[in-house]
Symmetry: C2
């Protein structure tokens, strides 16, 4: 298929490469143009604007930071909607608010473009390997139209109408945040009680207490490895979306709110660029020096 | 080996049977004597007191409710310590406070008995199948001595000195509680936003948001199935132990405390005998009727 791709960050550059590898024709645009170079060297067409990236394409993928960025590249001056022919499917893979996704979809529909919200989970490793989980909201027929392109990047699942992909991504981030808080509090208790961390992790990882976070982030916390995987400033952006969506729905989420506040403490201590597992540092600071039993 | 077994509740009766099946000689005692009948029919020796259950035994297992029960059956009148010969290993598989386990161990040591704290996770299904996770604190040599008996009930791992088994069990319960809170808040958001629950669970269960709780309790919550597996009143007993241990260590555990308060709301609504997944009911009551987006 003819595919346009907008946004070549850590995730986008890897995802675009998998689309090329799957044999699709690909035009690429990025705000910092030099990020296009490796993909152009691999066979992609350089576009001078989102408009140009969308011209003559069947499917246009975008993955940028937040709602205003999505609006700018799709609906702003020289935006993708200006170049696309009617009937083109736009799939935005950024994590943005469900309401924003619905609003963007409505404005695009008025211009003859079909919009899918299609956020991902799986991180840079999933992007690299083409094993992302892709949560798609929007029209079922448009989903089938975009499926060959989405499948080049991971496993797409349609979870409901417009906005549903973003809502499921929000659920995903709630789970990730609270699973991680559990890991941090368990490690904190073990450490304060003088228990061998790896022995504790080894035993509890095999039973009903287990989670991806425990198995993957637990060992990094024990090793004092707070390098990102997924950055605190990025999960905070996502949790702000979750809590705002919950506010609009009059839904209290006490646990998620607590984790967001603890991550805010990380930010206050200059740890926004650490990996999410640095949540443990906030727990440690709350704990202070051990008073001893 | 010659084994004594004290406490034939939901867990103990199944665990004792697996010891019999493994070919050990077994004497059994339970406060309500009739609970011994099926095991006696299967070849166990009926004991008239904990003292009698421990007489002439190499290993004595106890699994009762809380610290006072453990103290009563091991150290009280006609307690196991009165019947046991010096060098016998006592393994208590109840979930009690780490400090209580250490204290009981010291009092038994003064009488020539070696004590292991050996709480379990895996529930009635794990007890039935002999697949419990067994977290053992105490002397390494005593652990080797008890291992053939413990192995008949599941997978025993020594995690450290006296009390360490109970501390690791506390870590296990922290993780289970916070993983479950994540599931409840994610399902609440999906439901309030009108998203199909099974579709959401299916997608997020495959990625970095996954946990045992999500995969096993998520579907029950969606189905409105709040039958126990593990009862709210039992996890509340365990979380009280966790929070008390943390208090003694001057360790704030904001997330665990939040879940305990939400379970208290369940208890206030007469749901103590529901399964832990009924935590979702507390989240729902917090949420109230949907105001709509």
């Amino acid at each position: 298929m003819n595919v346009g791709f907008i946004g070549l960050g850590i995730m986008g550059s890897r995802m675009a490469r998998n689309i090329l590898r799957a044999g699709h024709s690909l035009s690429v645009w990025n705000r910092t143009g030099s990020k296009c170079d490796p993909l152009v060297a691999a066979g992609a067409i350089r576009a001078a604007s989102p408009r140009e990236a969308a011209a003559g394409r069947d499917v246009v993928i975008s993955i940028v930071t937040d709602s205003p960025d999505v609006e700018a590249v799709l609906l702003g001056p020289a935006g993708a909607v200006e170049g696309a022919r009617p009937g083109t499917v736009f799939a935005d893979m950024s994590t943005i608010a469900p309401d924003a996704a619905r609003s963007i979809g409505e404005r695009l529909a008025a211009r003859g473009i079909v919009f899918l919200d299609a956020p991902v989970s799986g991180g840079d490793v999933g992007a690299e390997r083409g094993t992302l989980t892709i949560m798609v909201g929007g029209d079922a027929e448009a989903f089938e139209q975009a499926r060959p392109v989405l499948s080049a990047m991971g496993t797409p699942t349609r979870v409901g109408p417009a906005g549903a992909g973003q809502t499921v991504k929000a659920c995903n981030q709630i789970l990730g945040a609270l699973n991680l808080l559990g890991v941090c509090e368990a490690v904190a208790l073990a450490r304060r009680a003088g228990i061998d961390g790896p022995a504790m992790l080894g035993v509890v990882s095999r039973g009903a207490a287990t989670s991806w976070a425990l198995q993957n982030l637990g060992p990094r916390i024990l090793a004092g490895d707070f390098e990102p995987g997924f950055r605190i400033r990025d999960i905070q952006k996502d949790l702000a979306i979750v809590l705002d969506a919950a506010r609009r729905l009059s839904l209290p989420l006490a646990g998620t709110a607590l984790v967001a506040q603890l991550f805010r403490s990380n930010e206050a201590h200059g740890e926004g660029d650490r990996g999410t597992q640095a949540l443990f540092r906030s727990i440690e600071r709350l704990a202070g020096p051990a008073a001893g039993p």
